[in-house]
Amino acid sequence: MEPQNKQIKVSSQQKAEEPISSACERCPLAVQRFGIDLEKWDYIVALAGNPNTGKSTLFNALTGLRQHTGNWPGKTVARAEGGFGYQDKKYKIVDLPGTYSLLSASVDEEIARDFILFGKPDCTLVVVDSTCLERNLNLVLQVMEITDKVVVVANLMDEARRRGIEVNYRRLGENLGVPVIPAAAAKGEGISEILKAIHDMVMGTTHTTPHRIASEGPLKEAVDELTDMIEKTYPGIPNARWIAMRLLDGDQKVRETLANGDLAQLTQGQVKTRESVDLDV
């Protein structure tokens, strides 16, 4: 998938095991402009989403790489990183493993969650399948619990249209409180809008009001109360709400870190990558 938008300048680096030479031979111009120097990016973009939503297609469209698409849960897919340039800014984009949620303890979900939490992405793209929005929104809601800087890419809009599914993307964006960009990444539709949304997000011109899960009832009271306690005790701490929710869920790791008084470690913790996780495979 070659990027169609002239504004995209592509540089690429892939930390996967696969050779990257073939990908870079196809974009010599971009490499000349940037070099494969991803130590010098301006912003980090995380790419999350359910499996089979076209995440990797979008990744390839943005970076010019040819990452293998199509996998089934459990088959190890190397975490891929690539770069692209837009309006004189350099971006590093990290393709996270496809997951349905960030709640259970699978390795894939942990990698995805920890990167969004600790990798401090300047923007997190959540790719959703427009033909089955409801299921995909579960992950969107969970990502929005962790970060405010979310752009939802409603992919496969052409397939949704074909099936007679009408999606009011504007309304969805209003209700979610984050930008929703319709796209058909395989055809290159919506790529320039996505780039602009990323740009606006990292520049701080987009203001989001993420829809929260526990927004009413005793759940909200419990989360709010604990969040308040954490914020008061550790002023300026990011992700206080997330920590509160982890504590209520009985997360042993978070409990121990808190008991150690080493909460800083939680918020500045090292990002787990596939390479550092012992998959025992």
């Binding site: 349905y100 259970s104 929005l133 209700n175 604990l226 504590l247």
Partner: protein, 471 residues
């Protein structure tokens, strides 16, 4: 009752933890369940508000099929029927090719043997090569190749279609009751091909506890090496007295029953493990039912013949050849006038009899630890060598040997099938368990637990049927 903390400007970590615990206790449901429920409810609301279905939803045939195949009432019976059909096609289709290959290879063997005799080769060389090694090989090829060549393409087509996750979906509740992971059904289906592959497939289960359960119980699914044994016994004994279609249908029914018993033991042992040494709650997971995909004929042909059939057959052959030689030596080396195999089988006879089998069968199981597929050939070779070469070219002759000369009964067949289903994994699978768990302890458990269960079950069956006076 917990007192709400008076508002302070700063708390100790312990304050926060205590308060979290207190809040947790007050909740009607677990926090995680509430969050998941709340997330689903919100997602539904958001999607309802923004999505509208114009006209009727486009229904693919896959959607319609899914509605039947994943229905809680029709799903499992249909899948059972599907399994029965696959097994029946395998049995019915493999019958004649097996005979042809058998006749051809034995004719070829006799020819070569005569050539050796004509050339004046010493009797022990001729015997070792052509009555030992070659017969073992010929048996394995004739008995295994046709069923595998039929079963594996069907299995691969189902896999390619996207059927396996649907099996997992339908069986999820059963595994949940057993305290195991729903994806264990996926690893179980992989075990049909080869238990070593099934054990490796357990990597898809993230929780170490549930993964271990899946690894330890994978053996209860009869692999392709054991299928021919089951098929042969079912055809010879259970379907005895029936001809043609009825015979293959009854044989298939018997094999399906054995598979069901295997699944039952998988669930039973999983439940036992998850309530004793591997205590814990089953973890939740989502499983996507992928859209049905048109199978790629070339890929299916390649996967099923090269990666599966030939791979398994080659392994069986490399195991069968030395075993054939060993059996020949066992039968032809004499100590105090008795052959080694007679000594060994006589020593094992009391134990074998107690579980409804005999000493030769147990000896065969010991020799066949490297590969389950050669158990029956080993049994037959020990029998026939002891009886100075019986020609086993037809099923009738085989039957005559087993029933008339060796005194096999329906009980022997039933218990041999049960023993074959439940006993220890083959050496490859045992090694795979070790390399996957990296634990000597669990490897020993994974080996001895099924073996003990096999002895126990066959013992109970044999003793109760004998008490009833049936055998």
């Amino acid at each position: 009752m917990d007192q709400k903390q008076p508002p302070k400007s700063k708390y100790t970590p312990q304050d926060i933890l205590n308060r979290a615990d207190a809040l947790q206790r007050q909740m009607e449901f677990s926090f995680r369940d509430s969050i998941i429920q709340s997330t689903y409810a919100e997602a539904e609301k958001l999607s309802k508000d923004a999505v509208r279905q114009k006209g009727d939803a486009l229904q693919t045939w896959g959607d319609r099929f899914d509605r039947i195949i994943t229905n809680p009432f029709t799903g499992l019976p249909l899948m059972g029927l599907g399994l029965a059909t696959v097994i029946w096609i395998t049995i019915a289709g493999a019958n004649y090719p097996s005979q042809w290959i058998f006749n051809f290879l034995f004719w070829l063997g006799d020819l070569a043997k005569n050539l050796f005799v004509m050339m004046g080769a010493p009797w022990w060389l001729t015997g070792f090569i052509w009555d030992g090694v070659y017969r073992g090989l010929a048996w394995v090829v004739a008995v295994m190749l046709p069923p595998m060549a039929i079963f594996f393409p069907m299995f691969t087509i189902l896999e390619d279609l996207g059927f396996l996750p649907r099996i997992s979906f339908n069986m999820d509740w059963l595994f949940k009751i057993a305290g195991a992971h729903g994806k264990q059904a996926l690893t179980m289906t992989m075990g049909f091909g080869c238990n070593a592959a099934g054990v490796t497939a357990c990597r898809i289960i993230d929780s170490p506890r549930e993964r271990l359960i899946a690894i330890l119980t994978n053996n209860f699914v009869p692999c392709n090496g054991r299928f021919p044994t089951l098929i042969m016994l079912a055809t010879l004994f259970v379907a005895a007295g029936f001809q043609g279609l009825a015979s293959s249908l009854i044989a298939a029914g018997a094999v399906v029953l054995v598979v069901m018993i295997g699944v039952m033991f998988t669930l039973l042992v999983s439940a036992l493990l998850s309530r004793t040494v591997l205590k814990g709650e089953p973890s939740s997971f989502s499983l996507e039912l992928p859209p049905y995909r048109k199978p790629d004929i070339i890929r299916i042909f390649y996967t099923s013949t090269v990666e599966r059939t030939l791979f398994v057959l080659w392994r069986a052959i490399t195991m069968a050849a030395p075993c054939g030689g060993i059996i020949w030596l066992f039968s032809n080396l004499h100590i105090s006038g008795k052959s080694l195999s007679l000594w060994a089988s006589q020593a094992l006879q009391p134990l074998g009899h107690a579980i409804g089998l005999d000493g030769v069968i147990l000896l065969a199981y010991i020799i066949a630890i490297p590969a389950n597929e050669i158990v029956v050939p080993t049994i037959l070779m020990v029998y026939s060598n002891a009886d100075k070469m019986v020609d086993l070219a037809t099923m009738d002759q085989l039957k005559a040997l087993l029933i008339d000369q060796q005194g096999w009964t329906l009980l022997t067949a039933i218990n041999l099938m049960l023993f074959s289903l439940l006993h220890n994994p083959c050496s490859t699978a045992i090694w795979t368990i070790y390399s996957e768990t990296k634990s000597l302890k669990w490897t020993v458990v994974g080996t001895l637990m099924p073996l003990s269960i096999a002895f126990l079950v066959t013992f109970i069956v044999a003793q109760s049927l004998r008490v009833l006076g049936w055998f």
